[in-house]
C-alpha cells in the first residue's frame, strides 16, 4: 500500500482508530431526546428512594447546626490540643471533592480532551454542591456565627481589619472566588441547553423559567461566537483557581510550624489529592446515574476507563507525596518531625487511620493498572468508595494526629467526635446528594450542545457513511 505513494495518508500503512465518544452512532435528535427526557419525564422510583432519605439526612445537618449555634462550639469534641477536629477535616474533604468539576470543565477543555463533554456538567454541579457543604464548617466553627461577616475585608467596627497574614483568611478569598467563578462557568455552559429545554417545554411555568435563565438564547452564529469566547476565557480563568484553592487550603497547615503540617510539598500534593478524590466522587455519582437513566451510549466504558486512569495516576502522585514526606521526615533529622510521623504510622493515637488512608488511597487504586478492573463497574465502584473514604482519612490523619500529640506531652489528648459532629457530617451528605438529585431532576445532566460538538457529524468534512453505519460503530 505504501509503495510509491507520496501523501501523508498513504505513507502510513495503517491507522489506529480512536474509540468513539458516543456509542451506536447516535444522532443529534437522539441525544436531545435522551437527555431532555430525564428532565421532562417522570422520575423513576429510585429517584424518590434516594431523594427522600437525602432530605431526611439533610435535616440532621439542620438540627446539628441549630444545636451548635444555639449552644456553642463546646458541643463538638474539640479539646485543647485538637482545636480543629472533624470540622476542618470535613471542610477540606468537601473542598477537595469540589476540584474535579472545574478540572474536567476547564483543564480538560484547554487540553482539548473531548471525552470530558459527557461528564463535565454533572461534575461541575457536584463541585458547587461540594463547595457549599465545605463552606458550612468554617462558617459555623467561628463560634459566633452571626459575626461571620467579620471575615469580609471591610473595616467593620473601630477600624478592625482582618489578619491578612493568616492563611485562613486567604481561604475565605480563595474559596469564595472559586465558588463564584465555578457558578458562572457552570451557568454559562448551561445556557444553550436551557434554551433547548425552553423550546421543548409544554408547561407555561417551565417555559417561563427555562426561558428566563436561557437569557434569550437563539443559537445564532453571533451567540455561539460570543459564547465560545466567553467559555474559553472562563476556562482559562478557572484553571489557576483549581490550583490555587487547594494550595491555599494546604497553606492553612504548611505555613505553621507544627510537625507533620509544615512541609513544602503540600500545595501540589493537596491539589493532586483533591483531583483524585474529586474524580472518585464523580464516578460514584455518575455510574449509578448512567444506569438509572440509561446513559450507556453517552457515558461509555471509555469515559470510565479514562477516569479510572486519572484516579490511578493522581493516586500514585499522592503516594509519592506520602513517601516523600516520610523520607524527608527522617532525612531532615528533626526529632519532632520524626516523632510526628512515628505517631502517625506506628504508636500514636491513630495509626489505624494512617494505614486505612494508605490502603484506600495508594494501594487500592493500583488495581486500575489492569484494564479488566477499569472495565468492571463493581471494581471501579469499590475503588471509588475506597478513595472517598481514604481521602477523608487523609485529612483526618494530617490534621488531627499532628495536634493530638503536639509539643507538650502533658497536653496530649485523644480527640473524639461527639454525636453532634457525626450527625452534622452525615447531614452534609444529605445536602450534597439532595442537591445533586434536584439537579438531575431539573437540569440537563449532560451538556447536550457540547456532546453534539464532538460527534463525527459535527466535523465540517464529515461524510455520511454509505453503509449507513459509523466506521467506528
Amino acid at each position: 500500500m505504501a509503495n510509491g505513494s507520496t501523501t501523508a495518508d498513504e505513507a502510513t500503512p495503517t491507522r489506529m482508530e480512536r474509540e468513539p465518544l458516543v456509542l451506536n452512532n447516535r444522532s443529534y435528535h437522539w441525544i436531545t431526546e435522551r437527555i431532555c427526557g430525564v428532565v421532562e419525564g417522570r422520575q423513576p422510583l429510585i429517584w424518590w428512594i434516594l431523594f427522600l432519605p437525602s432530605v431526611f439526612l439533610m435535616s440532621f445537618l439542620l438540627f446539628g447546626l441549630v444545636y451548635l449555634i444555639s449552644t456553642g462550639v463546646g458541643v463538638w469534641g474539640n479539646n485543647h490540643p485538637v482545636g480543629w477536629g472533624w470540622a476542618i477535616t470535613n471542610f477540606v474533604f468537601w473542598i477537595g471533592i469540589g476540584h474535579a468539576g472545574t478540572l474536567i470543565s476547564a483543564i480538560l477543555f484547554l487540553t482539548r480532551q473531548k471525552w470530558r463533554t459527557s461528564i463535565n456538567r454533572a461534575s461541575e454541579a457536584m463541585t458547587l454542591f461540594a463547595v457549599m457543604c465545605a463552606g458550612i464548617f468554617p462558617a459555623v466553627h467561628v463560634g459566633r456565627f452571626w459575626q461571620v461577616w467579620f471575615l469580609a475585608p471591610i473595616p467593620n467596627a473601630n477600624g478592625i481589619w482582618q489578619n491578612f497574614k493568616s492563611a485562613l483568611l486567604w481561604d475565605v478569598f480563595a474559596v469564595s472566588t472559586y465558588f463564584t467563578v465555578s457558578v458562572i462557568f457552570w451557568y454559562l455552559g448551561l445556557v444553550p441547553d436551557l434554551a433547548t429545554l425552553r423550546d421543548r417545554a409544554k408547561n407555561g411555568i417551565q417555559k417561563f423559567l427555562y426561558g428566563l435563565f436561557a437569557l434569550g438564547w437563539r443559537g445564532s452564529n453571533r451567540h455561539w461566537n460570543h459564547y465560545e469566547m466567553a467559555y474559553l476565557l472562563l476556562a482559562a480563568l478557572s484553571t489557576p483557581l483549581v490550583l490555587s484553592v487547594h494550595s491555599v487550603v494546604s497553606f492553612d497547615f504548611a505555613t505553621s510550624v507544627v510537625p507533620g503540617w509544615h512541609t513544602t510539598i503540600f500545595p501540589p500534593y493537596f491539589v493532586a489529592g483533591a483531583i483524585f478524590g474529586g474524580f472518585a466522587m464523580v464516578l460514584t455519582l455518575m455510574i449509578p446515574a448512567r444506569r438509572i437513566y440509561n446513559l450507556y451510549d453517552l457515558i461509555t466504558p471509555k469515559h470510565i476507563d479514562n477516569m479510572a486512569k486519572i484516579i490511578c495516576f493522581t493516586g500514585s502522585i499522592v503516594g509519592y507525596a506520602y513517601l516523600m514526606e516520610l523520607f524527608i521526615a527522617w532525612y531532615g533529622g528533626n526529632k519532632y518531625e520524626m516523632a510526628a510521623f512515628r505517631n502517625r504510622i506506628i504508636d500514636g493515637y491513630y495509626p489505624w487511620a494512617y494505614w486505612c488512608m494508605m490502603f484506600c488511597n495508594v494501594v487500592a487504586p493500583q488495581v486500575f493498572w489492569f484494564k479488566w478492573c477499569r472495565h468492571n463497574i463493581v471494581v471501579v465502584m469499590c475503588v471509588c468508595m475506597c478513595v472517598n473514604i481514604g481521602m477523608w482519612f487523609e485529612r483526618f490523619v494530617i490534621f488531627v494526629t499532628s495536634i493530638a500529640q503536639d509539643w507538650l506531652p502533658g497536653a496530649w489528648d485523644m480527640y473524639h467526635p461527639t454525636w453532634v459532629e457525626q450527625i452534622t457530617f452525615a447531614g452534609t451528605f444529605g445536602l450534597f446528594l439532595g442537591l445533586f438529585l434536584l439537579f438531575i431532576r431539573f437540569l440537563p445532566v449532560i451538556a447536550m450542545s457540547e456532546v453534539k460538538g464532538v460527534l463525527p457529524q459535527a466535523d465540517p468534512h464529515y461524510h455520511e457513511p454509505e453503509s449507513g453505519g459509523n466506521e467506528n460503530a
Partner: protein, 458 residues
C-alpha cells in the same frame, strides 16, 4: 477528513543528511574537545575544587534537559496521545542523551572532586582516614578484605557516631548515614544513568522498530512500557535532584525539591525540542510539523512556566513563612550579599516575562517568536541552576579568612570556570546529539497515529 490535506512525504520517512549538520557538529566538537583539555588541566590544578562546582552546574543543566525529554516521551506514550507523533523522535533523541551523561558525571564521582562538592562525603572521608590511622596504629592489619563494604560501613558508621559525640554538628551525618554513605551514593548515581538511560534507549528502539514494519504492536507495547516506566522516572528524577543538588548542603531539606527540579527540566526540555524542530525545519525537514504542533508545544511550555513558578513560589513561601532556621538557610544564602540580585531576577526572568510573552496564541504559533521564548527560557534555566549550585561553592570552600575579607560571597574569577565547564559539557552534548540525528528517521514514519498528528487542529 483525508482528501483535503496533501503534505508531500517520502514513503520511507526522512533521514537527515549528515553533511547538513556536520559544520555545527564540528564546531561543537571543537568547543567540547578544547574545553575537555582545559577541564583536565583544571582538574589537576589547584582550581580543581572550584572547578568541580562549575562542572556540576554544566552537567546538571544538560542532564535536567535530557531527563525532561524522557518525561515528555513517556507521558506522550502513556496518555496515548496523537498530536505529538510528528515530533516524538525529537523527544526520543533528547532522552537518549541520558546514557551519554554517564560519561560526563564521572568527574563528579571521582573521590577528591566528590569531597570538594559534598561536605558529607568530605566528612566521611576525613573520619575514615582518621579511623584507618588509628587502626594502623594498633597494627590491625587490613586483612579480611573479603569482609567487604558492609563491615567497613558498619564500623564507619560507628566512627561517625563517636565523632558526632565530640562534635554535635556531625549528628546529622550520623543520622543520615543509612542514606548518605558512599556505597549507596555510588549505587544510586550509577543507577540513575543506567536505568533511566536504558529506558530512554528502549523506548526509542521500540519506536524505530515500528519505522521498519509499521506494526501496531510497537505502539501498544510502548504505551504499556511507558506507563510502567513513569513511576521509575518519577523516583529517579527526584532522587537524582536530591543526591546531586540538595546534598550540596546535606543538612538542608525540602519535600518539594524533586518536583521543583523536575518542573524546570520539563519546561526546558520542551524549549529544546521546539528549537530542534525549528532547526530541522530550517534545514528542509519535518514538514509533517505544522504551526498547530508549535502551538501545542508552546502551550505546554507555557503551562510549565506557570507550574515552575507555582512550585518555586510554594517552596519559597512556605519556608519563608514558617521561618525555621534549618530550612531558611538555603534562601538566606541566596537572598543576601550579591546573590539576591539573581534571586530577585529569577522571578522576572523565569516567570513574569515568559508568562506575559507566551500568553497570545499567535506567539506560540510563530516559529520566530516561539524560538525566542525558548532561548529565553533556556537562559532563565541557566540562572535557576546557577543559583542552585554556585552559591554553595563559597560557603563550602572559602577559608575563614576569605569569608571575613570577602566583599561578595563568591570567588573572583570563578565565573570563568563556570563558562568553561558549561561550554565543555554543552559542546560535547550538542556534538553527541547531532550525531544521533542522522542515524534514524526524523519522525516515526509508520506510526499508526502519524496521520492524526499531521492533521492536527487545536
Amino acid at each position: 477528513m483525508s482528501a483535503h490535506s496533501h503534505i508531500e512525504l517520502p514513503p520511507d520517512g526522512e533521514r537527515l543528511d549528515d553533511s547538513k549538520v556536520a559544520p555545527i557538529r564540528k564546531v561543537a566538537f571543537a568547543i567540547g574537545f578544547i574545553g575537555l583539555i582545559a577541564s583536565v588541566v583544571l582538574f589537576i590544578s589547584p582550581l580543581r575544587e572550584k572547578f568541580i562546582y562549575s562542572w556540576l552546574f554544566g552537567f546538571y543543566y544538560f542532564f535536567s534537559i535530557a531527563l525532561g525529554g524522557l518525561f515528555w516521551l513517556l507521558l506522550h506514550h502513556a496518555t496515548n496521545s496523537g498530536w505529538g507523533i510528528a515530533v516524538r523522535r525529537v523527544f526520543e533523541n533528547i532522552a537518549c542523551v541520558v546514557p551519554f551523561m554517564l560519561l560526563l558525571v564521572i568527574p563528579i564521582l571521582l573521590p577528591q572532586n566528590r569531597d570538594a562538592l559534598y561536605e558529607w562525603t568530605k566528612e566521611l572521608t576525613r573520619i575514615e582516614a582518621k579511623m584507618h590511622g588509628e587502626e594502623s596504629g594498633e597494627v590491625q592489619a587490613a586483612a579480611g578484605a573479603s569482609m567487604g563494604e558492609a563491615h567497613e560501613d558498619h564500623s564507619l558508621r560507628h566512627a561517625v557516631h563517636l565523632e558526632a559525640k565530640a562534635d554535635p554538628h556531625l549528628h546529622l551525618l550520623y543520622h543520615k548515614y543509612p542514606y548518605l554513605n558512599k556505597t549507596f551514593f555510588y549505587l544510586r548515581a550509577f543507577g540513575y544513568f543506567i536505568i533511566l538511560g536504558a529506558i530512554a534507549l528502549w523506548m526509542r528502539s521500540l519506536s524505530t522498530r515500528q519505522d521498519e514494519d509499521g506494526n501496531h504492536k510497537w505502539t501498544l507495547r510502548s504505551r504499556r512500557a511507558a506507563c510502567g516506566f513513569l513511576p521509575i522516572f518519577a523516583v529517579g528524577a527526584s532522587f537524582a535532584a536530591i543526591d546531586f543538588l540538595k546534598c550540596l548542603d546535606y543538612a538542608w531539606f525540602s519535600t518539594m525539591w524533586g518536583v521543583y527540579v523536575f518542573a524546570g527540566s520539563a519546561l526546558n526540555s520542551m524549549a529544546v525540542a521546539i528549537l530542534v524542530t525549528i532547526f530541522l525545519q530550517k534545514l528542509g525537514y519535518l514538514k509533517v510539523v505544522t504551526d498547530e504542533h508549535f502551538h501545542i508545544m508552546g502551550k505546554l511550555m507555557f503551562a510549565f512556566v506557570i507550574f515552575w513558578a507555582y512550585v518555586t513560589f510554594s517552596q519559597y513561601f512556605l519556608i519563608w513563612y514558617a521561618n525555621v532556621p534549618e530550612e531558611t538557610k538555603y534562601f538566606i544564602t541566596r537572598n543576601t550579599e550579591g546573590w539576591h540580585i539573581g534571586s530577585s531576577a529569577l522571578m522576572w526572568v523565569h516567570f513574569v516575562i515568559p508568562f506575559l510573552f507566551l500568553l497570545p496564541a499567535w506567539v506560540k504559533k510563530s516559529t520566530k517568536y516561539v524560538a525566542l521564548a525558548c532561548v529565553w527560557n533556556l537562559i532563565a534555566h541557566l540562572l535557576d541552576h546557577y543559583l542552585i549550585i554556585i552559591p554553595e561553592r563559597f560557603i563550602s570552600l572559602a577559608t575563614n579568612e576569605e569569608m571575613l575579607n570577602a566583599t561578595s560571597p563568591s570567588f573572583s574569577g570563578a565565573f570563568l570556570l563556570d563558562i568553561i565547564a558549561f561550554a565543555t559539557v554543552g559542546g560535547l552534548v550538542v556534538w553527541y546529539f547531532l550525531g544521533m540525528l542522522p542515524k534514524r528517521r526524523l519522525y516515526p514514519c509508520r506510526d499508526p497515529r502519524l496521520h492524526e498528528s499531521i492533521h492536527l487542529t487545536n
